[in-house]
Subunit: 309 residues, 2 copies
Amino acid sequence: MSKELVFGHKNPDTDAIVAAKAYAYLQSKLGYDVEAVALGEPNMETNFVLNHFNEPTPRVVKTVANEVDAVMLVDHNEPQQSADDIADVTVTHVVDHHRIAGFNTAAPLYYTAQPVGCTSTILTNMFAANEVEIPAQLAGLMLSAIISDTLLLQSPTTTDKDREAVKALAEIADVDYQSYGIEMLKAGTNLAAKSDAELVAADAKSFTMAGKNVRIDQINTVDLNDVISREAGIKQAMADESAKEGYDLFLVLATNVLDSNSELFVVGEPKAVVEKAFNTTLKDDRASLPGVVSRKKQVVPPLQTAFEG
Amino acid sequence: MSKELVFGHKNPDTDAIVAAKAYAYLQSKLGYDVEAVALGEPNMETNFVLNHFNEPTPRVVKTVANEVDAVMLVDHNEPQQSADDIADVTVTHVVDHHRIAGFNTAAPLYYTAQPVGCTSTILTNMFAANEVEIPAQLAGLMLSAIISDTLLLQSPTTTDKDREAVKALAEIADVDYQSYGIEMLKAGTNLAAKSDAELVAADAKSFTMAGKNVRIDQINTVDLNDVISREAGIKQAMADESAKEGYDLFLVLATNVLDSNSELFVVGEPKAVVEKAFNTTLKDDRASLPGVVSRKKQVVPPLQTAFEG
């Protein structure tokens, strides 16, 4: 069996990096020749996690067809979120917790998706189903990914499976997940260290909706004023990126990870669709979205529906 | 939780009917309100199976949005193989063993795909993972589906998981699967009972390849001469269907289920792509394909590749 690369989405968050490592570990135990890589540098939160559990940073690649014929995807499936040359390789396995969009294969494959809060939750259960033990260090990483994706089990994406996985992983890793989780989330939200351009790029993902090129970024913070005070600069960075990359619509969702409220900045068109999606009125291209913390569950589906309606 | 319908593809084969029944049974045990239905009348083989195990024929529907908001798909995902109004409902679950193509959702879902010979094989393992017992009658149906899809474990789509599932199901159903399997396959190949139009429609599926509307039918037989002797009538029926439904290219694969050889009839264009896909030369729009028995593994992928190349 020839070697395959395992990776999460571009602009990797903690789950994208960790799920690749976890799935590569599981698949190697099941006899596959695999290497976990990343489609970008780890963010501040992920660096905190990797340091905390003394885990090396994965190798960063931009293209994959120059190395392998086949790959395994975690935490994404949409081609525009994947390697630039994803169309040139065969996807043999996917483990994901997102919608399926624009993902097409020529042949049957392994695809495991569940509407849970985090890919690492699905992987926790796949280790159990395959009777492979999770090492303590890897359990710590997977625990971190679930805390990150579910904002310490507070996001509406959180399911009972995520809660069960966090408990099981915290026990294996011997970590107090509440205190560790707050420390980790705070480590990931040091906004002062980032430029406006970095802020709007760090966790941004691209979507195609009704033929429009839609970019959605999320900025986590422990104080929304840290983002609102930079509104002008952030919107300028959104406009610059849109002009450069050809985005029709750019949304930045600033989320307070401690109280689960968000502020939305909008650049581009159609703004009427955004207002319809969130049943709100934009004032100076901005709106408060109380209780909105999940891009996947509370932003993408209503926006998609509004675009189609 | 509101009711959901569970169904396989149009032109249902034994797996499409049985997997819907099996998945509906499993999901009902897990607390879902579901009903297994079919997108067409059972074929001769499936009728033999349903009679043999004293199982009622499922209700046949053409549309689903008039009844439910959400559905679960088995044994298919491509929209053109699904209910006519599949775009108007939410797909919450998929269990399948085919390529993924043209399947898009607005929200995350449960998706379980494995490159094995039969959906019922995946379901056999899902019963085990959920610790739900398979009743003897249902085991007989699932066993029949695997025998049907893998041509009694002879098709190149057959995996070790299919072999293991057949053994486990045969034990539960208390069936000698070899002798039962031959009896079942023969029951499904009584070609004399079908008109030419019925023959080219019975197991036909639609595919979109490089923008072309491609129709591929498979006729199973225990003697290829039963099909070859009707070549002129079958090709006329293919041409009639193509004109009526707007197919660009129509392939009929006649397969001897006992010795695993096929004869291919081709109507429409581009024929050069067909010749390239199977590395053959058509003579009077016909070619022998020795060893080819699987549409999914030996026809669709090379044709897709040839279209793209």
